[in-house]
C-alpha cells in the first residue's frame, strides 16, 4: 500500500528524532512518535483535570503543530488495521475486556484452519440457529472498530445472515461451493462500509465461528490453543465489564 502526504523528513516534531511507532491524531493526521504524543496528551489532560474539578468534561487535545482539536491517537497502523487511544479517558477500557484483546490478537494472525468449513456447508448446518451469534458479533465488531456502541452494525449483519440462510428456494440442487461464495460475497458487502480493510478477515472469522458450532467460550479456548496462548486461570480472568 502506498502512503501519500507523508511527512518527508519523517521527524517527530516533539522529540525531533525519526518517528518511532508512528502515531497520528484522528482529525488533522499529523504524525508523531506514539510515546511522544501519548505523553503530551497525558500531560495536557492532567493539567486540565487539575484546573477543572469536574471529571465529566470531555477532553480533547490540540495538535502541537496546527492546534486542531483531536480526540484520539491512532497508532500501530499496518495498512489494514490500527489501534486507537482515546484522549478523553479510559472509556475504551470500560468495554474493552481481555477477551477483546485476545480477539484483536486473532485478527492480527492468519485465519486458522481450525474447523471443518466444508462440512458446515455440505450438511447445511447453517439451518440450525446459532444462539451465541449476537454476542459474538458484538464482541468482534467492538474489537475491530474500537467503538462500544455497535448495535446497529450487529443488527445489520444479523439481518443479512438471516436473509441468506432462510432464503426461499433453498434446495438441495444448490451445491455447497456456490452457496458459500454467495454467503461470503453478501456478507462482505454488508460489513465493508463499517470494517473496511478488515472485512475479509472478519468474514473468515465469522464463517469459522459458525462452522465450529461452539459457544463463545469454547471457541476462544480452541483459538487460544491454536495461537499457543495458555488460557487464563479463573482468578486471573477479568471481571465482567461493569457498565455505568
Amino acid at each position: 500500500m502506498e502512503f501519500s502526504g507523508r511527512n518527508d523528513s519523517e521527524t517527530c516534531p516533539i522529540c525531533l528524532e525519526p518517528l518511532l511507532r508512528e502515531a497520528y491524531l484522528d482529525r488533522c493526521f499529523h504524525a508523531f512518535c506514539y510515546q511522544c504524543i501519548a505523553q503530551w496528551s497525558k500531560f495536557v489532560k492532567d493539567k486540565q483535570s487539575q484546573s477543572q474539578s469536574s471529571s465529566k468534561c470531555k477532553f480533547s487535545i490540540k495538535c502541537p503543530l496546527c492546534k486542531t482539536e483531536n480526540f484520539s491517537i491512532v497508532y500501530n497502523f499496518d495498512g489494514v488495521s490500527f489501534h486507537r487511544h482515546y484522549v478523553n479517558d479510559n472509556h475504551h477500557d470500560s468495554f474493552f475486556s481481555s477477551n477483546h484483546g485476545l480477539r484483536a490478537q486473532c485478527y492480527r494472525s492468519e485465519a486458522g484452519n481450525l474447523f471443518n468449513i466444508q462440512q458446515y456447508w455440505k450438511y447445511h448446518r447453517y439451518r440450525q440457529k446459532n444462539n451465541w451469534l449476537q454476542n459474538w458479533l458484538r464482541r468482534e465488531i467492538q474489537t475491530l472498530t474500537l467503538e462500544e456502541d455497535v448495535d446497529i452494525i450487529v443488527h445489520h449483519i444479523q439481518g443479512v445472515l438471516e436473509a441468506i440462510f432462510t432464503r426461499k428456494g433453498d434446495s438441495k440442487q444448490v451445491t455447497p461451493e456456490p452457496r458459500r461464495e454467495e454467503f461470503r460475497a453478501l456478507l462482505s458487502d454488508a460489513a465493508m462500509p463499517f470494517l473496511h480493510g478488515r472485512t475479509a478477515r472478519f468474514v473468515d472469522e465469522l464463517e469459522l465461528f459458525l462452522a465450529s458450532g461452539l459457544n463463545i467460550e469454547a471457541y476462544d479456548r480452541v483459538y487460544m490453543h491454536h495461537l499457543g496462548i495458555s488460557p487464563p486461570t479463573e482468578e486471573a480472568r477479568d471481571p465482567d465489564p461493569a457498565s455505568d
Binding site: 516534531p13 516533539i14 522529540c15 525531533l16 528524532e17 511522544c36 505523553q39 503530551w40 500531560f43 490540540k62 502541537p64 503543530l65 492546534k67
Partner: protein, 164 residues
C-alpha cells in the same frame, strides 16, 4: 521518580538535538544566534537582532533561557538580559508576556522558533496585556511617537555597540 528521570533524559536528548541543529544551520537565520552554556545544556543564551522598521532596529538583544527538566512538555523560561522598552517586557526583570511561553505552549516549538516568536513580538507589541504599563499606555493612547522615541532611546543606550 522513574518518570522524572525519564523526562530528564528525554529533555536532554531533545536539547542535544536542538544543539546539533543550531550548529548545523548556523547561518540559516542571521537574526538569531543561539548559544548553549558550556557546562549546562539547560542554560542557553540567544542574541537576536531588532527587527527592521521598528525602534529596535540596529540593536542586538540578549535573551537568557532557563529550560525546565520537563522540556518540551513545559516551555523554556525566557527573559531579556538587555534592557528594552516594550509593552510586553518587564522593564526591570526582562520577563516576557507571550502566550506561547505560557498557556499556548506546544512541544513542537523549539528554542529557535521561540526566538522567532520573540522577534515577531518586538515588531508587533500587544499593548492590551502590558508588563510595562508606561509603554503600553503610550501605545494605547495613540502616542506612537512617544513610544517610538522612548524605545529608540533605550535601544541606543542598551542594545547598540558604543561608538568611539
Amino acid at each position: 521518580m522513574i518518570t522524572l528521570l525519564h523526562d530528564y533524559q528525554a529533555s536532554r536528548a531533545r536539547l542535544f538535538k536542538e544543539y546539533k541543529e543550531v550548529q548545523r544551520e548556523k547561518s540559516a537565520d542571521p537574526d538569531i544566534q543561539l548559544v548553549c552554556d558550556d557546562s549546562n545544556i539547560f542554560k542557553w543564551t540567544a542574541l537576536i537582532k531588532g527587527p527592521s522598521e521598528t525602534p529596535y532596529e540596529g540593536g542586538v538583544f540578549q535573551l537568557a533561557f532557563s529550560i525546565p527538566e520537563q522540556y518540551p512538555l513545559l516551555p523554556p523560561q525566557v527573559r531579556f538580559l538587555t534592557k528594552i522598552f516594550h509593552p510586553n517586557v518587564h522593564f526591570k526583570t526582562g520577563e516576557i508576556c507571550l502566550d506561547i511561553l505560557k498557556n499556548a505552549w506546544s512541544p513542537a516549538w523549539t528554542l529557535q522558533s521561540v526566538c522567532r516568536a520573540i522577534i515577531a513580538l518586538m515588531a508587533h507589541p500587544e499593548p492590551d496585556s502590558p508588563l510595562n504599563c508606561d509603554s503600553g499606555n503610550l501605545l494605547r493612547s495613540g502616542d506612537i511617537r512617544g513610544y517610538y522615541s522612548m524605545a529608540r532611546m533605550y535601544t541606543r543606550l542598551a542594545a547598540m555597540p558604543k561608538k568611539g
